[in-house]
């Protein structure tokens, strides 16, 4: 680990001011990703700004229009076991419990989950070129070992994926990210928070200099998907492994037909992958395999696999169909019985 200074933020304004004046500073909260990356010297911050004592970031509460606001410091385990979330946004419960381990979920925070870095082997290995870690140095995954990498939305500069499960559900549920920065507060629609690599893969998200994530909000409308949903995660081990492909699927049924649909993929792109065409293709349809296949085709249209991850295209297609079928029948994938029905 490099030498760094430590500052315990006294207030949000203090943290923002500190971050604004020192671009080489980093915010630390749960530490589960940042400390790990510092040990590998992937991250070498000059200063750590500890925000864990800021009370205003710790709370979870209903907001006026009926949505739920989750403070950036709320641990993943508190999100996973919150009764309000389980009742109104169970897709989020399932996604959070699909990720990491109980120990990590106890430490990892909501804001940190959004801001975690990719688990691309090359990003994590400072002896190899990586445009995300060292802009301009090249991408070792293109032409390298790329079994876990992106099949959608990648660029010639980077084919890394975003590793979060929680974010896939937040994308599907149309969450928003509340941030505070030198110019005040703003709310970023979840789909605009993470970005595709393009020619700047070093930028994972659209935060501006000095901005800090303070909360994630779930809209009231997303609670209309609490009956028919699933989070289906496919991975090399049944527990504690990142997704090769994951699907967040949620439906509203009106008699025999689909009234509304939400669909997002994890493990396949630089951000949770969602396309309105795929969801619109389901509206008005009878929930059957033909409709699900059509939605899958829209969602993975334009997929560009690499040498070792072509399997992900067909895996994603089948996972989408399976997840939509689970959602339609109201039988979410079990969190403990890992057999896929």
């Amino acid at each position: 680990m490099n030498r760094f200074s430590y500052h315990r933020a006294e207030s949000l304004a203090d943290a923002v001011a500190r971050l604004q004046t020192n671009p080489a500073a980093a915010i630390i909260a749960g530490g589960t990703n940042l400390v790990d990356l510092m040990k590998y010297e992937v991250e070498r911050p000059e200063e750590l700004i500890d925000v864990t004592r800021l009370d205003e970031l710790q709370t979870m509460s209903w907001i006026e229009d009926g949505g739920l606001r989750i403070g950036a410091l709320v641990p993943n385990s508190d999100v996973a076991y919150d009764e309000r979330i389980a009742e109104h946004y169970p897709l989020l419960t399932h996604a959070v419990l699909a990720g990491a381990t109980p120990q990590l979920r106890n430490a990892a925070t909501t804001g940190g989950n959004l801001n975690q870095r990719t688990r691309c082997y090359y990003f994590n290995d400072v002896s190899t070129p990586c445009n995300k870690r060292e802009p301009g140095s090249g991408c070792s995954a293109i032409g390298g070992v790329n079994r876990i990498h992106a099949i959608l939305g990648a660029s010639s500069h980077c084919i890394a994926t975003h590793p979060s499960d929680m974010c896939v559900a937040l994308a599907a549920l149309d969450a928003a990210v509340e941030v505070v920065g030198p110019e005040g507060a703003r709310s970023i629609p979840f789909g605009d928070y993470h970005r595709l690599p393009e020619d700047q893969p070093q930028r994972d998200n659209t935060l501006r200099q000095g901005e800090i994530v303070v909360a994630v909000t779930l809209p009231r409308e997303a609670s209309d998907f609490a009956g028919n949903y699933t989070y289906l995660k496919l991975r090399d081990r049944l527990s504690y492994a990142f997704a090769l492909v994951s699907v967040a699927a949620a439906l509203q049924l009106d008699g025999e037909r689909i009234a509304a649909a939400r669909l997002a993929l994890g493990g396949v792109a630089h951000k949770p992958w969602r396309r309105t065409e795929a969801e619109e293709a389901l509206v008005g349809m009878v929930p059957d395999e033909t409709a699900f296949m059509s939605a899958a085709d829209f969602l993975i249209a334009g997929a560009e696999p690499h040498e070792h991850n072509a399997f992900k295209v067909e895996l994603a297609r089948r996972a989408i169909v399976c997840a939509l079928s689970q959602a339609a029948s109201g039988t979410a994938q079990s969190l403990t019985d890992k057999r896929i029905a």
Partner: protein, 172 residues
Amino acid sequence: MSHRPAEASAGIGITITINEQVRQIEVQPSTTLLDLLRHDLALAGTKKGCDHGQCGACTVLIDGRRINSCLQLAVMQDGKEITTIEGLAQGGQLHPLQQAFIERDAFQCGYCTPGQICSAIGLLEEGHAGTRDEIRELMSGNLCRCGAYSNIVDAIEDVMIQRAGIVREAAE
């Protein structure tokens, strides 16, 4: 509270309670809780396996919650209460989980055991496991390369059943 690298040798003063003993210590910003315990405080019961949050050998309880101590900076633990494997026995009496691990032969080399036991304490306190499958899933953060998993599940299940019995008796 700020600290510059130039002052590094001086360290930062923190107060933490470890196994019910209040300690005032100076730590470097880069010292992890795991290294503080093992190197500075000679509490070597907590083990360093991967040092990257992947194996769970370093699991301790921070304010009652199971956490990977290798990924926590010591300086951030100011004011917290830490429980390690050394703090579990009371008055010469092993913690029920320690006893159950012995009775169920739930280890071979023993290196992962302190982390397994601290993690299992967290699991029991959290109260989300009711079946063997749920114990397995919620112990997924603790690897055992000897492969004592089935006996580890037995040990945890034993204590869970004992506790349920105590709760039932208390309710009657």
